[in-house]
């Protein structure tokens, strides 16, 4: 079994090319472990290569460490063909990991000139870009255009001129073919195979060592795990505090229903409402709608924060308390004090909430009557 994980950018000498050519390029990986077992899947990749085997490389704990396809195909255009013989690797989450040429093989350009080191580096960077504009182009649109103002697109979108920056010079079709192979159906197949093997250990590895994309992949599926250990829960909470909004959102939204009922997770969400940025506050508040019941400490925490809230957040918080049927008198009285505030929007929202709660408490009724009188005079 080859040890290929955890290495990045290693140069080898290609005898066929007669020059130092880096023939193996890998992105950093989540696991430094080596695959000890390979499982073969016969797949329909929906691409025109001759390969239909996907290799799943697993570690000792049956956690996927990488996936591999051995590609042998021709890239043809205008009647000229070149052989493509290489291995392509995917991360367990479906993202691009790297490629490797068999010993003695090398990539070449339209004029049969071998790839140079900078060409391989560019190819590696292009393949790592899942949002490349190559996604939006058909094979036959890849005729490089330069300098002709008539070709400048009138829209704020990719132009043929832009595409030139996203292909290896002299190897447009090889680049295009490989990019679509890397980001085509194989991605989904890899992701689906890994999802079937997802357990807490695998998920924890992704959360601890993965890229934000890997972490989000793990968080989006964490709800399906049978159980969350304390370490896993802490890791998710830590990610929920991330400044990366996508990552924080995935973490805040990842708690399964059974955990949302607990005081520990509800406390974390209240903390996010208190200390997080505005988007995190909104997301955490939205999560608190999911449990059947709010813990008393959660309600107490929220009621402390409500006077500092404005606009949409205030409306959401009051809607939450109403939906969860929070009607204990001290809490409602505390909210009724907000009727005296000088922001008519905020006090109006509080009044609407109190109307719906319909408390018979004399103190609250008095405050509501006073508020109504004040509004009528305005």
């Amino acid at each position: 079994m080859k040890r290929i994980m955890g290495m990045a950018l290693i140069a080898f000498v290609s005898e066929a090319a007669g020059q130092a050519v880096p023939i193996r390029y890998l992105l950093p990986s989540v696991s430094a472990d080596t695959g000890v077992n390979a499982v073969l899947f016969e797949e329909d990749f929906a691409d025109s290569t001759y390969s239909n085997i996907l290799y799943q490389h697993l570690d000792r704990d049956s956690i996927p460490v990488f996936y591999e396809r051995k590609i042998k195909t021709s890239v043809c255009f205008d009647g000229k063909c070149r052989l493509l013989d290489m291995s392509v690797y995917w991360k367990p989450t479906g993202g691009y990991l790297g490629f490797e040429m068999p010993q003695g093989e090398f990539l070449s350009k339209t004029d049969h000139e071998p790839f140079r080191a900078e060409d391989y580096e560019k190819l590696h960077a292009i393949l790592a870009d899942s949002l490349s504009p190559l996604a939006d182009y058909s094979f036959f649109e890849l005729v490089p255009e330069t300098g002709n103002p008539d070709q400048v697109d009138a829209v704020s979108s990719a132009t043929l001129k832009d595409i030139v920056d996203f292909i290896v010079p002299g190897a447009a079709f090889t680049t295009y073919r490989l990019w679509h192979l890397v980001h085509g159906r194989t991605r989904q197949l890899v992701s689906a195979h890994s999802e079937r093997l997802l357990n807490e250990k695998f998920a924890l590895l992704l959360l601890a060592k993965g890229s934000p994309g890997d972490q989000i992949w793990g968080l989006e599926r964490a709800g399906n795990l049978q159980a969350w250990g304390e370490l896993f829960l802490l890791r998710v909470m830590r990610l929920g505090e991330s400044e990366n909004l996508n990552l924080a959102a995935a973490a805040i939204r990842s708690f399964p229903d059974r955990l949302l009922e607990t005081g520990e997770v509800q406390h974390f969400l209240v903390q996010r409402i208190e200390k997080g940025g505005y988007p995190q506050k909104k997301m955490a508040l939205a999560e608190l709608f999911k449990p059947e019941k709010l813990c008393d400490s959660t309600v107490a925490g929220l009621v402390e924060l409500i006077p500092e809230m404005n606009g949409d957040l205030l409306a959401d918080a009051l809607a939450l308390l109403f939906e969860k049927k929070v009607d204990n008198l001290p809490v409602i009285r505390k909210l009724a004090v907000l009727l005296d505030g000088n922001n008519r929007y905020n006090s109006g929202k509080v009044y609407s909430f109190l109307e719906k709660v319909n408390s018979s408490d004399a103190e609250i009724r008095k405050k509501m009557a006073e508020y109504k009188l004040r509004r009528a005079k305005q």
């Binding site: 058909s138 009138a154 979108s157 994309g213 996508n246 990552l247 505005y278 404005n310």
Partner: protein, 456 residues
């Protein structure tokens, strides 16, 4: 039919013997002669223009607890985002972080969620493809959400009205609007011009600026009925050039026919000098945009593979990029923009490449990594004015800076900042520029907005 003829005969007979007294048939009621409904209303903040910036401004003003009126000359809110059909109001993120949030982002996020649309993965830099971070929204849904939130904020919405006079008063402004059967005098403490064209600013007597050549407008439409993979683009381009040479098509209107087809018509047309400032200029721009679309549609349907091209959708109005700008207390220059200058009174970020559309197309010039331009409150205040703000593309800026500042997310940020400043000014009896920046920052942040911070 027989009944109708009988009725007409009866009316004719009656008419010959009546003296101006209408005959009332069964089921009809006599209505009193129509009179224009004249009234005077008082408010604290008046927002003129319910477009991209105006919606956010009105919601912010209402949520800040101020009595607010929103005047819109059309029938729905959202402006360029909705009526104009430019339903990708980015960009809210820069260099992996959110830079524009608040009410604009709230609207966008809810529209996305209610339509099950995807949000872009903004943790991946967009490189030279800034549109990777654009967020697509359902324009009609956005208009409905905007209206719902404006009403929830307690704002009085006045559709189909436009100002005809704006005069200063001791404590603010007196604005007269006319609409369908209405003539309304609105007395306000603070006025926010969100027309995008500095229309209210000019009417109030403050100077406005305009380039000799403005950026073209675009009528948004959507084509369908063809398969891109089967098209012969070389032939199509050649036939297109031929029609341009013959004078049947106008090159500047569609610079790249392949791009038009690839984008299915989305954001590809250029109508020179499109200006939405007045009824006449707006009518002209709409007519030219529609005629241009019809010429192109007829041409496309003559081409092999495109015979069944259909017009899937077309917006009611052309979207306009550039008209007038105010002469503000501060003018944001191109240099300010590309260096990401942070002002002491910065109230909002803006993030977009310099994006000047002209008759050769557009090649965006991207900002250097890490740069996020900012907007000072002074750029939203016409020089010499009191209790008067603008928000939107007509802010005080030079042409190149404006080509980037004009985009919708930036306009949303400006709308929220202008309204927050107006609300605090109202509450404290000051003018917006006299409001302490710390108070403004605090109010904006508690409403979710992101206020630039100066690195010390």
């Amino acid at each position: 039919m027989t009944e109708k003829i009988k009725r007409r005969s009866a009316l004719a007979a009656l008419g010959s013997i009546s003296f101006g007294v209408p005959t009332i048939l069964k089921g009809e009621r006599l209505s009193v002669p129509y009179r224009v409904d004249k009234k005077t209303i008082k408010t604290e903040i008046l927002v003129i223009g319910g477009g991209t910036a105006g919606v956010v401004a009105a919601i912010q003003a209402g949520r800040a607890g101020r009595k607010t009126v929103l005047v819109e000359n059309g029938s729905q809110l959202g402006g360029v985002t909705t009526t104009g059909g430019v339903n990708f109001p980015g960009i809210f993120f820069a260099w992996g972080k959110q830079v524009i949030g608040g009410i604009g982002w709230e609207l966008v996020q809810e529209a996305v969620a209610m339509n099950d649309d995807p949000l872009p993965n903004v943790s991946v830099p967009h490189g030279r493809q800034h549109w990777r971070h654009q967020v697509r929204v359902n324009g009609q849904l956005y208009a409905l959400l905007a209206e719902e939130k404006v009403l929830d904020a307690g704002v009085e919405v006045r559709y189909y009205e436009t100002p005809v006079s704006i005069k200063p008063t001791k404590n603010g402004w007196q604005v007269t609007t006319i609409g369908k059967g209405t003539e309304t005098v609105i007395e306000t403490n603070q006025l926010i011009d969100c027309t995008g064209n500095a229309f209210a600013t000019a009417m109030a007597g403050f100077p406005v600026l305009r380039e000799a050549d403005t950026q073209p407008g675009t009528l948004q439409f959507r084509l369908s009925g063809y398969d891109l993979d089967t098209l012969d683009f070389k032939m199509i381009q050649s036939r297109y050039e031929e029609e341009v040479r013959k004078g049947n098509l106008v090159k500047k209107e569609f610079l790249n026919v392949a791009g038009l087809l690839r984008n299915y018509g989305d954001n590809v047309q250029h109508i020179a000098g499109a200006d939405s400032t007045t009824s006449e200029t707006h009518t002209s721009a709409n007519l030219r945009g529609r005629a241009s679309l019809m010429r192109m549609l007829r041409f496309l349907r003559t081409l092999p593979g495109l015979e069944k091209t259909r017009l899937q959708d077309v917006q009611n109005e052309i979207a306009v990029r550039e008209t007038f700008r105010i002469d503000g207390q501060y003018l944001i220059t191109h240099e300010d923009y590309v260096t990401g200058k942070v002002y002491d009174d910065a109230v909002s970020y803006s993030y977009y490449p310099i994006d000047l559309h002209d008759d050769k197309g557009v090649i965006p010039r991207h900002l250097v990594e890490g740069v996020v331009p900012t907007i000072p409150l002074r750029a939203l205040v016409p020089r010499g004015s009191r209790n008067f703000l603008v928000a939107g593309r007509c802010l005080s800026s030079d042409r190149l800076a404006n080509s980037a500042l004009r985009v919708q997310a930036s306009c949303m940020g400006m709308g929220q900042a202008a309204a927050a400043a107006a609300a605090l000014a109202c509450a404290s009896g000051k003018t917006p520029l006299e409001v302490p920046h710390a108070d403004l920052k605090n109010l904006l942040e508690t409403h979710g907005a992101i206020v630039p911070v100066k690195n010390t």
